[in-house]
């Protein structure tokens, strides 16, 4: 990147706020941090270059004979590639092993999140906790059949509704078994379109159980096991499917069952949601188990009164990362920022407590918190920090509300310790969030006619050119938010509707793309017209990164609604992670590719050092699964690669030309189905 190429200066180099981010509050807070001499990720990105060998994906440190590094010469290799590690491992093997391990780590992260949710749900089903309940019984009844749990019973020859508690227990036990069962494949695979299931079966990549696929990768990437990049990626695929169609999907569903399925709501986004005269609590991380309780605790009269007693006007809760998305989607709690803004929330000086659980939490938060009164509270047994100022309050779902209140109280007590120098940026945006598979269906036609066909019809008639999923993280090696926003704007300008999750969704919210009004400003005429008709923003917020499973299911619904082929790979659709950084993104990317989606990553991919392996991902995958990987750092080119793919699919479907108005006589009408 531009900064990385500059010669190092003598004094510690600082980030140029205007180069670091396109977002005003971020720029302001970087300036403030620098003024206060607090180092942030943006500064470190300038002073520390990424490892050039690691970037290429060909550093092997899987045994103590290494690390072996097999960099690809600048001009590439003419003729035979003779690069080898000590054991003889080729660049392809090393890159594929590293890539597979990223998938394993990503899948493990999502799925372990899913496991915690499933464990909590089991506690609910067994009535071991009073703090969680079943808020969306309809969703429970909807998913029960996939787990082989009956939703009706025969009583005296009559079919009756089965007791909800019984269904819950059945589902909870069956769901828990998904992590370790033997002798079969994952229950949710059958939710995919049949041709896709057939493809997986033919390839031998049907996941057996969630944990096993992760363990399998760790085993086969051990020194001297699997040394065929194609075979490695087969397992990489199987493990990724265990995430997308397994752990993550179960996580999303059981969260919906316990906390309610999202439906559209109005909220705000950005650091400006923090309030000077309120106790500001920021929840950060990924699992909604704790944050759900913190929301409830913050809304309790007891805590509000306590905050007032301590001189605050109330409690302002905000989120960072996917925890933010979880409580935004279900409660309208506004996100205070995305991944790269986590330090900045503390640098406002107005953050009484930052409560974190798992994934994407900077260790540097502790160093930043030290400069202020902010309490940094870790809550997860597997996620602690070495710094002494970090408070650990372990969260136990059996005493959920008690723990939550303890945390909130700690934050309120800390209000009086706030320093005089605070600065909350004024920037915040309104947004409409809370979309999900079910609520999109409703909004495409109401209680009586809700149907994804409304969407398909407008894709077929060309008003909507295609569907894009733009998801993923921020990355301090790219200009904060720029790629997300440039790509999304370019897509909607070309009539491609965007589904978004994770930090990408927070970014879209911060930049005003989640408002219905943005359609008229940024969209092509066709998409603008559809947004106007349905009353939706051109970019739909589908939740956290675990909720990428919602995109898979939405795509499946689109296939089912008809008129756009028989499989996800037939759809005029593409995926993107413009500013990715986490291993979870690689797992997500692979399950999208293996589900038939053309998936483009921004920044770079750690495969450039092994061109043959790279071609396997960028070309061969399409022949196997219908989807493939690609990488394009330039956001405009990135968007147009997606659009070109969408156009290719439109052509294959025969919908690349304007649809004629067909007038129907009785015989034509009788040929129409009624479903």
């Amino acid at each position: 990147m531009a900064e990385a190429k500059q010669a190092p200066a003598k004094a510690p180099k600082l980030a140029d706020p205007m180069e670091a981010s396109i977002e005003a509050s971020t720029q302001e807070m970087i300036r403030r941090a620098q003024r206060l001499q607090i180092e942030t990720v943006f500064d470190r990105a300038v002073t520390m270059k990424p490892c050039a060998i690691g970037l290429q994906g060909i550093c092997c440190k899987n045994c103590a004979m290494g690390p072996c590094r097999l960099p690809l010469p600048k001009d590439g290799i003419e003729g035979e590639d003779t690069r080898k590690g000590l054991c003889g491992a080729t660049a392809n093997t090393i890159a594929a092993r590293n890539f597979a391990r990223m998938i394993a780590a990503g899948a493990a992260a999502h799925s372990d999140h899913g496991r915690s949710v499933a464990e909590t749900f089991l506690a609910v089903a067994r009535k071991e906790t009073n703090d969680y309940t079943i808020k969306d019984p309809a969703k429970l009844i909807q998913i029960a059949p996939y787990f082989g749990v009956a939703t009706t019973v025969e009583v005296d020859g009559k079919t009756m509704d089965r007791d909800l508690d019984e269904i819950a227990l059945g589902v909870a036990e069956a769901a828990m078994a998904e992590w370790g069962k033997t002798g079969s494949t994952l229950a949710y695979l059958k939710r995919a379109p049949q041709p896709l299931q057939d493809k997986w079966k033919e390839q031998g990549v049907l996941p057996r159980n969630i944990d096993r696929e992760v363990v399998d990768i760790m085993h086969r990437t051990h020194m001297g096991v699997d040394q065929d990049f194609k075979n490695l990626m087969k397992q990489g695929t199987r493990c990724s499917l265990a995430d997308g169609w397994g752990g993550a999907m179960i996580g999303t569903d059981l969260q919906d069952v316990m906390f309610g399925s999202p439906s559209p709501l109005q909220s705000e986004a950005n650091l400006g949601i923090m309030k000077e005269d309120h106790v500001n609590i920021i929840v950060h991380g990924h699992e909604p188990l704790l944050s759900e309780m913190i929301v409830a605790a913050c809304q309790s009269q007891e805590m509000i009164d306590y905050a007032k007693e301590k001189g605050a006007k109330g409690i302002q809760l905000g989120g960072i990362c996917c925890t933010a998305n979880e409580i935004l989607q279900r409660h309208g709690v506004p996100p205070a920022g995305n991944y790269l803004q986590q330090e900045l929330a503390i640098i406002t000086g107005a953050c009484e407590a930052m409560v974190v659980d798992v994934q994407c939490v900077f260790q540097n938060l502790a160093n930043v918190a030290k400069c202020f009164h902010t309490k940094l509270i870790t809550t997860h047994p597997m996620a602690k920090m070495e710094q002494e100022n970090v408070v650990h309050i372990e969260f136990d779902e059996h005493y959920a509300m008690q723990d939550a209140k303890r945390i909130v109280k700690l934050a309120i007590d800390n209000f009086e310790n706030r320093g005089a120098d605070i600065m909350i940026p004024r920037h915040k945006m309104k947004q409409i969030a809370g979309f999900g598979v079910e609520s999109i269906r409703y909004h495409l036609g109401g209680s009586f006619r809700g149907d994804y066909y409304t969407l398909n019809d407008n894709i077929i008639n060309g008003r909507i050119r295609g569907i894009a999923g733009v998801v993923g993280c921020n990355n301090a090696r790219t200009k904060h938010n720029e790629e997300h926003i440039t790509i999304i704007k370019e897509l909607i300008k070309n009539d491609v509707i965007v589904l978004t999750t994770g930090c990408s969704a927070i970014t879209a919210g911060i930049h005003g793309l989640l408002t219905p009004e943005s359609a008229a400003v940024h969209c092509g005429p066709g998409l603008a017209e559809v947004c106007e008709t349905v009353g939706i923003p051109p970019v739909l917020h589908l939740g956290s990164c675990v909720d990428n499973s919602r995109i898979l299911l939405a795509a499946t619904e689109v296939v089912k609604a008809g008129g756009l082929g028989n499989d996800i790979c037939d759809l005029p659709a593409a995926g993107s992670a413009p500013e990715w950084m986490s291993e979870k993104a690689i797992a997500i990317g692979q399950y999208f590719v293996a589900s038939g989606v053309y998936t483009v990553f921004g920044y770079h991919m750690p495969v450039d050092g092994a061109p043959v392996f790279r071609d396997h991902l960028y070309k061969d995958m399409e022949k196997i699964y219908g989807g493939k990987w690609d990488c394009e750092p330039d956001p405009i080119k990135h968007a147009h690669k997606m659009i070109a793919h969408i156009d290719k699919k439109r052509k294959e479907l025969g919908i690349d030309k304007a649809r004629e108005r067909v007038l129907m006589d009785m015989a034509d009408r009788q040929a129409l189905g009624m479903d």
Binding site: Q266, L444, R449, G535, L663, D665, D675
Partner: protein, 737 residues
């Protein structure tokens, strides 16, 4: 600008639901909660509510639940900026409005029982121009036209055009396109129906201009009609709202024309109609909703000029209409079939007891006739003075490589409706008892008798392409020629009748299937034999044969009788095999001549339904035009609901009127002599044939032995009467067992 539409419709939803809540509360204060409410003779309760939710509203009390349901559907009001999505809420608000409107109409009918005439045609002279909801008799008669496509759809017109001339232009255009025009609501107190009357048009179901009511709430009758058609003919189950609405979207091609300012009360109705896939076209500047999805094409189109609204509406709904452009000075189409030429409008007439009027179709050699030649031999209209009469002979000669003499009566039967299709001309009767009445309006436009020939030539070619190569028409108006033609025709009729009347099931090896209604009653397969005409009354064996010859892949397919499995009950191996396949395994056998054991399946289209009356050891039958109670304990509509939709229901069978006096009518159960009750109307219509068939079976004046509603409408009431008359059924072997 969909947001404005959504805003208005949601406002309208709140307004209408609140209003109706008030009305219901008042009604509950004035009447007992158990007071009966309803739309008259219908088995479908309040049809929109019943069809979409399964709720049966029979009393005032019953209205509370659907109204609460409507209240529950009302979405939050829309915010100005950063609003939530509104398409779903808009459609829900629309549906809430429609439910409330239906309840409002039920309360109106309770409060003002005489507000509507509940008839096919209004009583214009008495100033009662609103007919209100169609009863099931009208539904069954007219609904079939939506089923078979002879009515391609309907235009729901709300409001009024700027003037009567414009209203006439629009509505007549729809008539020419064979659409029904369902009218409701007023614009500043003026209605399109009043404008039609002002312009001298005839209104009522018979001319397809249906005056439902003067308020927007009456528009709900159009939706109720559509949903009842889907239940009666489409086999859609009450409560299966999704299928119901998709059925409407894909089968019933209807749309709304909003003439006048669209306020919130109209907006909510229009939003409701979108749930059905019915778009709205307005003549005012309202926000448009052009993207597709819920409707086939656009949802709301605005600012449509009056001279384009018909064409545009048809296009927006995606409706293909094959309008026959026939070179005559008058408008032409099925919508004019029911139009009358009354005394005051009459210019002149032929037949009808005043003079002789005869029709005859004969096959000709190809070389013998000239295609398209129409000869008027004798006086024509120009030679007549107002009020005069003429004799008339209509002689049609048809040649064609595939034409057969058997097709002559089929073609001849077309003459009646084809002449009726001409605007301003009325045709009654057939054969040698025809009657043609010509209106002053038609003559003013330049109508001559030659135009009858032009119409027959054009339509015979169009409708019977496959068998017709040449058509020549001669119209005689000299007494001598007419007499000669009549004498010849009568000889022809006699030969034909004998051939058809004497034809038995044993005479033929092939029956014909009829799956015309199958897309509506999926497991129903009619099989038509010479002695069991189609239960809709429209198709006899000969028709099916002709239909097959005309269209070999059409709905009428030959079915080899094969081995006779049961001669008494009428079960045939070939037929069983065929119906197993054609019903996709739903039905594997049925009997032609029994209603007790595995009777033939019945769709919603049957002319009559027979039902067992066990204590009388006999059966009854009831035609679909009889609205009263019957000794079976059920009205026709209830019976049709119980056993229509393609089910084989032992103890009941659907059949045509004509079939009652055919030789094989329930012969396996004892035949016509089992008949102990019929509505008087039907009995009188068939009296001669009943007596004739009775005599063949050994009973004289059989019609006098059959009870009717004047005797009683329960088995207990009619049994003593039957005993007194010595009805033969009472001494027959037990019907069951």
């Amino acid at each position: 600008m969909s947001r404005l539409v959504a805003f208005a419709a949601i406002q309208g939803g709140y307004k209408v639901v609140s209003q109706v809540e008030g009305e219901l509360e008042r009604a509950l204060k004035s009447y007992d909660a158990s007071t009966k409410i309803g739309f008259g003779n219908t088995a479908y309760y309040l049809p929109v509510i019943y069809s979409l939710t399964g709720m049966k509203c029979e009393t005032l009390e019953d209205l509370k639940k659907p109204l609460e349901f409507a209240r529950g559907l009302l979405p939050p009001h829309l915010k100005g900026a950063n609003h939530l999505p509104y398409l779903g809420p808009l459609l829900d608000a629309g549906m809430a409005g429609i439910f409330a409107y239906e309840i409002k109409e039920a309360i109106r009918i309770l409060n003002q029982p005489d507000y509507y005439t509940f008839t096919e045609d209004p009583d214009v002279d008495a100033g009662k121009i609103w007919v209100g909801p169609a009863d099931d008799t009208i539904l069954r008669k007219r609904g079939v036209e939506f089923v078979d496509g002879s009515a391609p759809g309907f235009a729901a017109i709300v409001g009024a055009a700027p003037d009567a001339e414009t209203a006439k232009m629009i509505i007549e255009d729809y008539q020419k396109k064979s659409l029904y025009i369902f009218c409701a609501a007023n614009h500043n107190g003026k209605t399109a129906i009043e404008q039609c009357l002002e312009a001298g048009m005839q209104i009522g179901w018979n001319t397809r201009i249906v005056p439902f009511g003067p308020d927007i709430s009456a528009a709900v009758f159009a939706l109720g009609f559509a949903n009842r058609a889907a239940m009666a003919f489409g086999g859609v189950q009450p409560g299966d709202y999704r299928k119901m609405l998709m059925y409407n979207k894909n089968r019933i091609f209807a749309f709304v024309n909003a003439l006048g300012d669209v306020g919130t009360e109209w907006a909510v109705a229009a939003a409701g109609a979108v749930n059905w896939g019915f778009p709205t076209l307005a003549d005012t500047d309202i926000p448009e909703i052009l993207p597709t999805g819920i409707c086939t094409y656009e949802h709301v189109v605005a600012n449509v000029p009056h001279n384009e609204i018909c064409q545009k509406s048809v296009e927006v709904r995606g409706l293909k209409i094959n309008v026959t452009e026939i070179d005559i000075p008058c408008a032409f189409g099925p919508a004019f079939e029911g139009e009358r030429v009354r005394g005051g409008d009459l210019f002149g007439q032929m037949g009808g007891g005043k003079t002789q009027c005869t029709e005859l179709v004969k096959m000709a050699e190809m070389s013998e006739i000239e295609d398209g030649k129409v000869n008027v031999v004798g006086k024509d209209i120009g030679d007549m003075k107002e009020g005069e009469t003429l004799p008339l002979g209509i002689y049609v000669q048809i040649a064609g490589r595939e034409f057969q003499p058997d097709f002559e009566p089929i073609m001849e039967r077309q003459i009646h409706h084809l002449i009726n299709y001409i605007q301003g001309i009325m045709h009654i009767g057939q054969r040698d008892i025809s009657w043609v009445r010509i209106s002053k309006a038609a003559v003013e436009k330049g109508f001559t008798l030659k135009d009858i020939g032009v119409v027959l030539h054009a339509k015979f070619h169009q409708d019977f392409q496959k068998i017709v190569d040449k058509v020549q028409v001669t119209l005689f108006t000299n007494q001598d020629d007419v007499d000669k033609l009549t004498a010849r025709a009568r000889a022809e009729y006699k030969t034909r009748d004998e051939r058809v009347d004497t034809m038995t099931d044993e005479d033929v090896e092939t029956f014909y299937s009829c799956s015309l209604c199958q897309s509506f009653a999926p497991s129903h397969v009619c099989t038509v034999s010479p002695e069991r005409t189609g239960l809709c009354g429209a198709y006899n064996w000969m028709d099916c044969k002709a239909s097959f010859e005309i269209n070999p892949t059409g709905p009428n397919q030959p079915v080899k009788k094969g081995k006779v499995l049961d001669a008494k009950l009428g079960r045939f191996e070939g037929v069983d095999e065929f119906i197993k396949g054609a019903s996709k395994g739903a039905i594997d056998t049925y009997n032609f001549y029994s209603m007790v054991q595995a009777p033939m399946t019945t769709c919603g289209c049957c002319e009559c339904i027979a039902a067992m009356l066990p204590s009388c050891n006999g059966i009854m039958t009831v035609g679909r035009d009889y609205a009263g109670e019957t000794p079976s304990g059920m009205k026709f509509t209830t019976l049709a609901g119980v056993m229509g939709g393609g089910a084989s229901s032992p103890g009941f069978v659907g059949h045509s009127k004509f079939n009652i006096t055919q030789g094989k009518f329930i012969l396996g159960d004892g035949g016509l002599l089992r008949m102990v009750w019929m509505p008087k109307m039907l009995k009188e219509e068939l009296r001669d044939r009943l007596n004739k068939r009775g005599e063949e079976m050994g009973v004289k004046n059989f019609a006098d032995l059959i009870a009717d509603e004047t005797v009683g409408i329960t088995e207990e009431e009619i049994l003593p009467w039957l005993q007194e008359k010595g009805h033969p059924a009472l001494s027959m072997e037990a019907l069951i067992g």
